[in-house]
């Protein structure tokens, strides 16, 4: 009796050796010496194996983060930073697979197929952290926009993963810098900024337009 783990490892091994998916489930199970029903008991298709591997990687990341003592002391900004640092560390273990998977999956810009399972998990995770930040006042509450903060983080997610895939610096040091800078810029935009004040002032002036006449020297 095969296990999900065995099938998964067999699949990773196959795609990395052949740089493509097996021709069919039939030929794949034959190589693994298991029955087709074993395969379907765990996975619906090859695509679902890939999706699940990605999901496992992000779940592992979030799990290790939440075990860290400092986690609860972190601000929202720090939590997201910590997420990405741990995530690229976890991805490192499956780097070849990650590169293969992103290379072969469809629709590489917004949400690659392989990442379709990861996106809701990340968004849920990010949203919780963003809400904490909104509650504590770390982040600025803005009508309509604050709901979209998580989308900005997803764009960062896609960018960082792609950056890491093509990073050739020692110890992926450049990815660290990309994270530190990218996330900080993003969070700087989430915070209250002079633009908010400018908008408020504009609103105030338009509401109090009748003063304009009297204001004239």
């Amino acid at each position: 009796m095969a296990t999900a783990q065995q099938i998964r490892n067999g699949y990773i091994d196959y795609v990395l050796m052949n740089d493509e998916k097996p021709k069919s489930v039939y030929s794949f199970v034959k190589k693994l010496k298991i029955s087709e029903s074993d395969f379907y008991e765990f996975y619906a298709s090859f695509e679902s194996i890939e999706k699940i591997i990605w999901v496992e990687l992000i779940v592992e990341t979030i799990g290790t983060l939440q075990q860290q003592e400092v986690w609860n002391e972190y601000s929202s900004r720090d939590k997201i930073l910590a997420f990405f640092y741990s995530y690229v560390e976890v991805l490192k273990k499956q780097r070849s697979f990650v590169i293969y998977s992103l290379k072969t999956t469809k629709d590489r810009f917004s949400t690659p197929d392989a990442l379709s399972g990861v996106k809701p998990i990340f968004e849920h995770f990010a949203e919780e952290i963003l809400n904490e930040g909104l509650e504590t006042g770390e982040l600025a509450e803005r009508k309509f926009f604050s709901k979209r903060y998580k989308d900005a983080l997803w764009i960062q997610f896609a960018f960082i993963v792609k950056f890491w895939v093509s990073d050739d610096s020692t110890g992926f040091e450049k990815t660290d810098e990309a994270i530190e800078k990218g996330i900080n810029v993003t969070f700087d935009l989430f915070q209250r900024s002079p633009i908010d004040n400018l908008l408020e002032y504009g609103k105030f002036l338009s509401r109090n337009g009748h003063f304009k006449e009297k204001m004239r020297f």
């Binding site: 400092v70 930073l81 910590a82 640092y85 560390e89 450049k174 810029v185």
Partner: protein, 433 residues
């Protein structure tokens, strides 16, 4: 202080920073001249002050080697107007820190463990910036430790930073770029060495061992097993930095004691070890509650080869300087006078450099030297100011070793001046053939 969690890293971003500074400085000039229209008495001091503030601001945001260069410029007090110096000396103390998760990340990369698993306690908030890194406190087995963490990407960005600082620095110094490349190279080498924390730990241990018998000088214990490429762990030394120490109004006796410890520390290294801690900025020293001098940074070591040491120190501590022919001979060895110089030039540089050497050697000329000596320092500054304006000095002269040796010794003199210390200068004398 505001926590700064990003370093502008790519070259474009860094250039943008410098461009911004350029604009601001331009702006300062406009401000200055428009004010001057109304108030012709206005001196350049305010303008220099404004410029220094802006330069300092952008340099400290850049961190890394740019901050290091700010520190270096601030040591060369003799070539900068006074208000530049006051601002630059600030960069020797604090610069805004990096984010907590990146620190954790640096640890997991080096040791595979988070800091709280390595130490019994670890403070994620840094206590000081160390120009290419920051310092955290930690505890292990009941001992308080200082943990220095290097910013990521520092090594990478040094060369590109230097390229950009070059035109900027040259404008400050008023020299041409081509001729100064040999010096810039020397600086680059030292800076790159400073990013090698493994080398620093090794040297720190060697130097603190070699210097352990010096009176009133103490060193922290280093922990190589808790140190790596980006991390150094050492004992925490309690104490005051120079400025805070001086605020406690120490007695003359105590100031002499600390000053003597500094003098001995530097001259023991120069003359006995022939390699010297070449970073005498006040942030690298602490005055402990036991009234000893704590030395906490061996990132920058300058070795002095024989072909520099002998001609240079023969000028300082023997009668050579009284003999014109011998002096010129030594100047030639040190490339202060070039082969192709004509008789007139030889005469000119002979006098100019003789003046410098005499200033440099002043503390050596008497057994006891009082560094509370405004005349001496006024002469130093005015000499610096004078040569920085002379066209003759807008070209490369002197072997590259001068940069760090001058910086070390004038830096030492500057600290001793601030201490107003009276020092016995015969403790460790040059050894000459």
């Amino acid at each position: 202080m505001k926590e700064q969690s990003s370093i502008p890293v790519t070259k474009t971003q860094r250039s943008a920073k410098f461009v911004k500074t350029g604009f601001q400085i331009g702006g300062n000039y406009i401000k200055h001249y428009s004010k001057k229209l109304f108030n012709p008495q206005l001196t350049n001091d305010e303008l220099n002050e404004d410029n220094a503030t802006d330069i300092y601001k952008s340099l400290s945001e850049l961190k890394g080697s740019a901050l290091k260069i700010a520190q270096m410029l601030s040591m060369d007090k003799n070539i900068l107007p006074k208000s530049y110096i006051d601002k630059f000396t600030q960069s020797q103390y604090n610069a805004p820190p990096l984010s907590g998760p990146l620190i954790v990340r640096t640890f997991t990369k080096s040791f595979g463990k988070t800091p709280e698993k390595i130490y019994d306690k670890f403070n994620l908030r840094s206590t000081n910036a160390a120009s290419i890194g920051q310092v955290h406190t930690a505890e292990l087995n009941g001992k308080k430790l200082a943990v220095k963490i290097q910013y990521p990407g520092v090594g990478d960005s040094i060369s590109s930073d230097l390229k950009m600082v070059k035109p900027f620095a040259f404008r400050l110094l008023g020299m041409s770029e081509k001729e100064l490349n040999i010096y810039i190279k020397e600086v680059e080498e030292r800076l790159l060495e400073e990013t090698d924390y493994e080398l620093e730990v090794k040297r720190s241990i060697e130097f603190s061992e070699a210097c352990k018998n010096l009176n009133n000088v103490v060193f922290p214990t280093y922990y190589p097993e808790l140190s790596g490429k980006k991390i150094i762990s050492m004992d925490w030394i309690d104490g005051h930095h120079l400025k805070e120490f001086l605020k406690t109004k120490p007695s003359q006796e105590l100031r002499n004691k600390i000053g003597q410890a500094l003098w001995d520390f530097y001259n023991f290294q120069q003359h006995e070890l022939r390699a010297v801690h070449a970073d005498p900025h006040p942030g690298n020293f602490l005055i402990t509650p036991e009234e000893k001098l704590g030395v906490i940074d061996f990132g920058c070591i300058k070795e002095m080869p024989d072909d520099f040491y002998y001609p240079f120190f023969s000028l300082i501590s023997t009668d050579v300087i009284k003999d014109k022919a011998k002096t010129i001979e030594a100047f030639r060895k040190l490339e202060m006078i070039h082969k192709e110089d004509n008789a007139e030039q030889i005469e000119f540089y002979y006098h100019a450099y003789r003046e410098m050497i005499e200033l440099f050697a002043r503390p050596y000329t008497s057994e006891v030297f009082n560094f509370d000596n405004p005349d001496f320092f006024a002469q130093l500054y005015s000499y610096g100011e004078k040569i920085s304006k002379m066209a003759e000095f807008k070209q490369a002269r002197g072997v590259k070793h001068f940069i760090y040796v001058n910086r070390t010794n004038f830096g030492l003199y500057a600290i001793l001046q601030e201490l107003k210390a009276i020092v016995n200068t015969t403790t460790y004398k040059p050894h000459l053939k």
